[in-house]
């Protein structure tokens, strides 16, 4: 008997729990993931011949990580799993996939996008120097390759990941030069009521901070990044910043790990023609979903950090909720008590996430203060000054128009790392609300596609 064709994209926590819920209901989903192994980012698995324990790799989340991996392994006989496979486009109810050099299409009746997130970046002058990495990148180096990105790493930005990665580096014996948070410490106090929604997570965060302090790592909050110094050939040599008191300080380092929380990977939702709305709280455009993850397109569901940044635990819950919504929409019965329970858990996690956002806000105000010679678009090496000049000379304000004239966002990464900051710079330069700048229109392929790729024989 041929059931509905269900495709799940992403084998991280959201995709895993979504597939698990579908399989339990008798569906055999197709699960497509870009990586070699399941786990997504936070539960990224090390190569087969590595020996480190779960405790070493995942710290306080070791139990969850192991549970995730086991849950995924248990699915293997019950799903059609395609790792190492890039979904590069979505077209007319089928997903377009690149595997090795072959191109295939998987038609679907229902689609669940669990595409995860990447770091959200605010440029710092000099961030285009060799030796600058995202916090996520610094973490992958350690978690998946047992490497540090340098001998003395300076960590700068904001968000829980800032402290987590720095503490992980410390524990692994890497050189941690400094941990510099743009958010003032007082914000965390004010956010305490929300952070108490998940006490364990709050305690873990405090423990990380204490571990860094006990080790004598220089830590500052309320900083303003000034410049990553170094040379075009040699890369990073140091980092300067203004401390909370307004003093200019510097840190010697040969690597910088930077990031400001996360941003969802929404390209496939865009190509699936989901509607987006402007989220004032996080100052970004997000796909619209209902409380269970239904998008504005019938048959397309969104779950995990790929639609809202709520963290890995929430991703598991939203993966289950999306699966339940899908099953309901197929006319299958769903355990309403379980559904209600998942929604309750999600509410609590949403509250915690609000607390994180309040504690570690996206530093929108830094965009206007970027010097003209700071590179904004790393792919195309476009500076803040060039971007401001486009606005002044052409009057362009809308994101795609600015891109057409100034090339920001036209590079290989399609604006993943520059679009947020570029929009803030444009809004400030044009003196318009951020929402008016709009968002970059999604264009396939979501990642570079080789012209040597050939269609699979039908």
């Amino acid at each position: 008997m041929v059931g509905p064709r269900v495709v799940v994209i992403g084998a991280g926590p959201a995709g895993t729990r979504c597939a698990e819920t579908l399989v339990a209901a008798g569906v055999r989903p197709t699960l497509i993931d870009e990586n070699r192994r399941d786990g997504g980012q936070i539960y990224r698995r090390q190569p087969d011949n590595f020996r480190r324990s779960y405790g070493t790799l995942y710290g306080t989340e070791a139990g969850r990580a192991e549970a995730q991996h086991r849950a995924f392994d248990a699915l293997l006989g019950h799903i059609d799993y395609f790792p190492d496979s890039l979904v590069w486009n979505i077209s007319e109810r089928s997903v377009c996939v690149l595997r090795e050099s072959s191109l295939t299409e998987f038609p679907f009746d229902a689609l669940v996008l669990c595409t995860g997130a990447t770091d959200r970046l605010m440029p710092i002058k000099g961030w285009n120097l060799a030796g600058t990495y995202s916090l996520g990148g610094a973490q992958v180096a350690l978690k998946a390759q047992a490497c540090a990105i340098g001998r003395q790493v300076a960590f700068i930005g904001t968000g829980p990941l800032l402290y987590l990665v720095a503490a992980q580096y410390l524990k692994a014996g890497a050189g941690v030069a400094a941990v510099l948070d743009t958010s003032p410490w007082s914000l965390r106090l004010a956010a305490l009521p929300k952070l108490l929604a998940v006490p364990r997570a709050l305690l873990n965060g405090v423990a990380l901070t204490l571990a860094l302090r006990r080790a004598g790592v220089p830590m500052e909050s309320g900083v303003e990044p000034l410049e990553i110094g170094g040379s075009p050939d040699g890369g990073v040599a140091g980092l300067s910043f203004k401390d909370a008191g307004g003093e200019t300080r510097s840190v010697a380092c040969d690597a910088v790990a930077m990031g400001y929380h996360l941003r969802p990977e929404t390209q496939l939702a865009d190509l699936a023609r989901c509607e987006f709305h402007f989220d004032e709280a996080t100052r970004q455009w997000l796909p619209r979903i209902d409380s269970q993850g239904r998008s504005s397109v019938a048959g397309v569901y969104l779950a995990g950090d790929g639609v809202r940044i709520l963290g890995a635990n929430a991703a598991e819950v939203s993966g289950r909720l999306a699966a339940m919504a899908l099953l309901q929409d197929l006319g299958q019965p769903v355990d309403t008590a379980a559904l209600a329970e998942q929604r309750r858990i999600l509410s609590r996690l949403e509250r915690f996430a609000q607390g994180l956002r309040q504690s570690f806000p996206w530093p929108a105000q830094l965009a206007a203060r970027l010097p003209d010679d700071a590179v904004v678009c790393r792919c195309e090496a476009i500076t803040a000054g060039e971007l401001r000049h486009i606005v002044a000379r052409t009057g362009a304000v809308e994101a795609n128009r600015v891109k057409a004239f100034g090339r920001v966002g036209m590079g290989r990464c399609q604006g993943r790392y520059c679009a947020n900051a570029a929009a803030e710079i444009v809004a400030h330069a044009a003196n318009v609300p951020l929402e008016q700048v709009g968002r970059l229109r999604g264009q396939a392929p979501v990642k570079p596609l080789p012209m040597g790729a050939e269609a699979d024989a039908p």
Partner: protein, 381 residues
């Protein structure tokens, strides 16, 4: 609210409309350009960017040559860099269509008479000068003064220059209603503004037929979306624009490399477009076809990755030629649209000649072949 009055109203801010506006100002006429979205956002902004005279029907070459003269001075005219590169254009045929090489020779003979010098190249000379061509390429016709430019920049730059010279350019202006009252055309926009002029030029691309229909001369205008993609930046080595001539639609690919290194690819099959919502969508199989064609045309390029695909809405007429000229029903009304995927190079020429026609009553470049009444596009059987 009082109507904005000018000598000429131009409806549609693509390359043709913005050129016409620019040249009308140069001729001292007051002009108002009305654009529903942003200038140059539609076909004029998404096309391949070919600045190509060769390959056009011979009767188009006079206008194309005129446009070419404008392109040579474009940066100076608009005071900005539109990234025009005039380092040649070569169009080739494959070994399985040797007769096309003969066509290149006879076309070159006819083109020379009309002021376009071409060189037919094959064999060792082809391999030496264009080493990127694959083994199945037989030969080509090379136009040394043709080239390419950046379509995203050109029309907006023309409109900005026109505005600096005193033209009124109104963006985000959707036209609700047009009528002729006495000597004047009166246009009302959806936000309640009105505009008046004794001359109205319709340069609204794929959206022009509504006006032609209203004034009693309906035209069979269709729309399609081109298939476009671009590679990552790679070492700059191909300076001329490149195209394929083939009777097989899938095969008529073209590409050009810009100094930054990206290679822009167009051609092959077209995509469905939806003018009502100003959208078109690239069908994945059309992108895959371009990969197949590139592997045949320039095999080493298959190692490269594309980083973006796009399309837009282009207006087509059944004989693939534009309508350029006066209305045959209504005095003071003029048209320049329907460039059928080949409007970028010739667009400034069309704008220039329409400015001349509107300002002086005649044109030094013949445009009869583009007449709205021509039998090839007559909607009456």
């Amino acid at each position: 609210m009082k109507a904005v009055a000018s000598d000429v109203l131009v409806v549609g801010g693509g390359i043709v409309g913005s050129s016409a506006t620019f040249f009308l100002r140069q001729r001292g006429r007051s002009v108002t350009l009305l654009e529903r979205g942003m200038v140059g956002q539609q076909a004029s902004g998404v096309n391949f960017g070919n600045i190509r005279r060769q390959g056009r029907p011979l009767e188009h070459l006079a206008l194309s040559n005129r446009a070419s003269a404008t392109w040579r001075r474009m940066n100076e005219l608009v005071g900005e860099d539109v990234e025009h590169i005039a380092e040649g254009h070569i169009r080739v045929c494959y070994r399985d269509r040797p007769e096309i090489l003969d066509d290149f020779v006879s076309y070159a003979r006819e083109a020379r008479i009309r002021g376009l010098d071409l060189e037919v190249v094959s064999g060792t000379a082809l391999r030496q000068r264009f080493p990127f061509f694959g083994p199945e390429v037989l030969g080509g016709s090379y136009s040394p003064l043709d080239g390419h430019a950046n379509p995203r920049l050109a029309a907006p730059a023309l409109a900005r220059a026109a505005r600096r010279n005193g033209a009124t350019v109104v963006e985000n202006c959707e036209i609700l209603h047009v009528e002729k009252n006495g000597d004047d055309f009166c246009v009302t926009s959806s936000d309640g503004r009105t505009f008046r002029a004794p001359a109205l030029l319709v340069t609204a691309g794929a959206w022009s037929s509504r006006f032609a229909t209203q004034f009693g001369e309906p035209v069979p205008l269709a729309s399609h979306g081109p298939t476009m993609c671009v590679t990552e930046p790679v070492p700059y080595s191909i300076h001329c624009a490149v195209g394929v001539v083939s009777p097989v639609k899938e095969e008529d690919l073209y590409f050009r490399q810009i100094p930054r290194g990206n290679i822009i690819i167009g051609g092959g099959l077209r995509n469905p477009s939806y003018p009502d919502v100003c959208r078109a969508y690239v069908m994945p199989r059309n992108t895959l076809n371009q990969f197949r064609q590139i592997r045949r045309l320039a095999p080493e390029l298959k190692r490269l990755h594309i980083i973006r695909v796009w399309t837009g809405v282009e207006g087509y007429l059944p004989d693939s030629q534009p309508i350029i000229g006066p209305s045959r029903t209504t005095s003071g009304l003029y048209y320049a649209f329907g460039f059928s995927g080949a409007g970028f190079q010739i667009g400034p020429g069309a704008g220039d000649v329409m400015a001349e026609l509107i300002a002086t009553g005649q044109t030094t470049t013949p445009i009869d072949v583009f007449d709205i009444n021509r039998s090839a596009i007559s909607t009456t059987s």
